[in-house]
């Protein structure tokens, strides 16, 4: 069973536009998901330039899925779906 890989963009643009609120996302994971999720703070993923700035903050999930305008709530919901899926 692979872990859900969550990469939070901590480039300064994403940080200013909301990533600062997701820095502690690991602490917000329910106990039963711990160990099934791997969270990493990344330097700029360059999505704010390739995609669009208004879509920041960006999060990359499992290497390919891009979440735009990510919020802690949106991210936790998506992680939940994936964890339930792999569990």
């Amino acid at each position: 069973m692979d872990k859900v890989k969550v990469e939070i963009c901590c480039g300064t643009a994403c940080y200013l536009l909301g990533a600062a609120n997701m820095m502690n996302i690991e602490d917000q994971l329910p106990a039963e998901w711990r160990g099934k999720v791997e969270v990493e703070a990344k330097t700029c993923l360059e999505l704010c330039e390739k995609e669009n700035l208004g879509g920041a903050p960006y999060v990359r999930i499992n290497g390919s899925e891009i979440m735009a305008q990510a919020t802690p709530e949106k991210l936790l919901t998506r992680i939940g779906e994936l964890v339930e899926g792999v569990a």
Binding site: C10, T12, A13, Y15, G18, M23, A41, T43, C48, L53
Partner: protein
């Protein structure tokens, strides 16, 4: 906390920096509002055209132009930019009034009232009627009605009602302003009375329509950097934890962004501590019954000057950490220009008085770093000659100044006693509190005042509160 207002402000700042750096700002400026609110797409207000009009004013404020001073509505942003970029090279432009109200963005919130809502069950006990000291409440057709002519908005009925049926509507900017400086004008739109305004920035944060705007010096700083001027970044102690990484990494990021040199304002705070302690001891020797109040919070100093004239003599004459930081920079290189970087609106008014050339907020610095693709955590820590001492780095927190002065004084005079009180955040009650301290009713000899609750890191332009 991030919300729609902070998001759009920061997004526009980053767009400006990117366009400036690619040399396309002048041609892009007038297109930004259209790009962000294309037709046939959802709008935040009544229509995309209203949104675009306000985006234009937001960009004007970011160019440092006062929205109130607009004389020609047809003047494009590119024309404002051209004036800004090519006139008075080398001259500084700290605006006299750092805040500006954008009339078209103001929703003209109805005056504060206490009203009974549909939740009213017209109950038998009627605690609202019984508790109203002005007999302003009647039950008509099974529903409580408040006579607005009699109501004094005391709120007793609000707490008395078990159904939460009575609410108070507010005008958020008026509610937030500690000195009654923001009021609706004859057109029903908020306007700031600059004779009263202390630039605390509370209305700037409070307005849910983001109608209060800060007049930025972002473009001035970018243009000065491009002209090759030596700009020294003076980073306020409140920067701790505002960006990911350590303060030394933030200094390195500033250097990478194009500042010729960087320093912590906390080094200036060390000097403030030494002087303020000496001043305090001297004042107490002259008159042990008097009290002294701190001078480093510019909104507090503005409050005393504009609203508490009897207290002027009690304000410490010691310059603020920013002023000492400027001295340190100028002693090293008299030609260098100084840029204070902090979370404060009122510092812009102090900078103007004290010859600090530019002020950037943490948001504006963040926009420069974002625009230039600099990640603080990816920077090698800046080799500071020596880190500022911990009490100086702690200056931005409530009790920080008291703590620094007490530490300094006890190191000189063992057993030194400080009868200190702190006012942690200025609001309408502050003036009453301060007067009580001044009259001796609450004994105190050292009164620390911070306009923002908790200290500068909760300032109006901080990134993380």
């Amino acid at each position: 906390m991030l919300n729609g207002s902070t998001f759009i402000r920061r997004e526009l700042m980053i767009r400006i920096v990117r366009a400036f750096d690619s040399g396309t700002l002048e041609s892009e400026l007038d297109r930004i509002p259209i790009k962000l609110r294309p037709k046939n797409e959802p709008s935040s207000r009544c229509c995309v055209y209203h949104d675009r009009a306000i985006l234009k004013y937001r960009l004007m404020a970011l160019l440092g132009v006062s929205v109130e001073e607009e004389t020609d509505e047809a003047k494009p942003l590119s024309a404002y930019y051209a004036e800004k970029a090519w006139s008075h090279p080398g001259e500084t432009s700290t605006p006299k009034t750092p805040l500006s109200v954008c009339g078209p963005a103001c929703s003209g919130c109805p005056d504060a009232r206490v009203v009974s809502t549909q939740n009213c069950r017209g109950c038998f006990a009627r605690p609202c009627v019984y508790n109203c000291p002005k007999k302003a409440i009647e039950v008509v057709d099974g529903h409580s009605v408040i006579d607005q002519k009699l109501c004094i908005k005391c709120g007793k009925c609000i707490t008395a009602c078990p159904y939460n049926a009575i609410v108070k509507t507010t005008v958020p900017c008026e509610e937030a302003c500690p000195v009654g400086a923001i009021k609706k004008n004859e057109f029903g739109v908020a306007a700031i009375d600059f004779d009263k305004c202390i630039f605390c920035g509370k209305c700037f944060n409070a307005c849910p329509f983001a109608a209060v705007m800060e007049r930025s010096q972002l473009i001035d700083v970018l243009a000065a950097m491009k002209r090759g001027e030596k700009l020294v970044a003076m980073v306020a102690p409140a920067a701790e934890k505002q960006f990911p990484g350590k303060i030394e990494q933030l200094l390195a990021a500033c250097a990478k962004a194009g500042f010729s040199d960087v320093m912590e304002v906390a080094l200036g705070a060390e000097k403030t501590t030494a002087h303020e302690t000496a001043e305090f001891i001297e004042r107490m020797e002259k008159n042990p019954k008097t009290f002294m109040t701190t001078s480093c919070c510019p909104a507090w100093v503005n409050l005393v000057w504009k609203h508490l004239p009897d207290l002027v003599d009690h304000v410490s004459l010691t310059p603020s950490p920013m002023v000492y930081a400027r001295e340190i920079v100028k002693a090293k290189d008299p030609d260098a220009k100084t840029v204070f970087i902090g979370p404060c609106v009122a510092k812009r008014s102090e900078a103007r008085r004290k010859d600090v050339d530019y002020v950037l907020s943490f948001e504006e610095l963040g926009a420069i770093l974002a625009g230039r693709k600099i990640d603080v955590i990816a920077c090698e820590p800046w080799p500071v000659p020596r880190p500022a001492n911990p009490t100086a780095r702690n200056y931005s927190r409530s009790c920080g100044v008291t703590d620094a002065v007490l530490t300094e004084a006890t190191s000189k005079i063992p057993g030194f006693k400080l009868d200190a009180k702190q006012i942690n955040g200025i609001d309408r009650k502050t003036c009453t509190m301060v007067k009580l301290h001044a009259s001796g009713k609450i004994p105190v000899n050292f009164l620390e005042v911070m306009a923002c609750p908790g200290g500068c890191q909760n300032g109006p332009c901080s990134l993380v509160k």
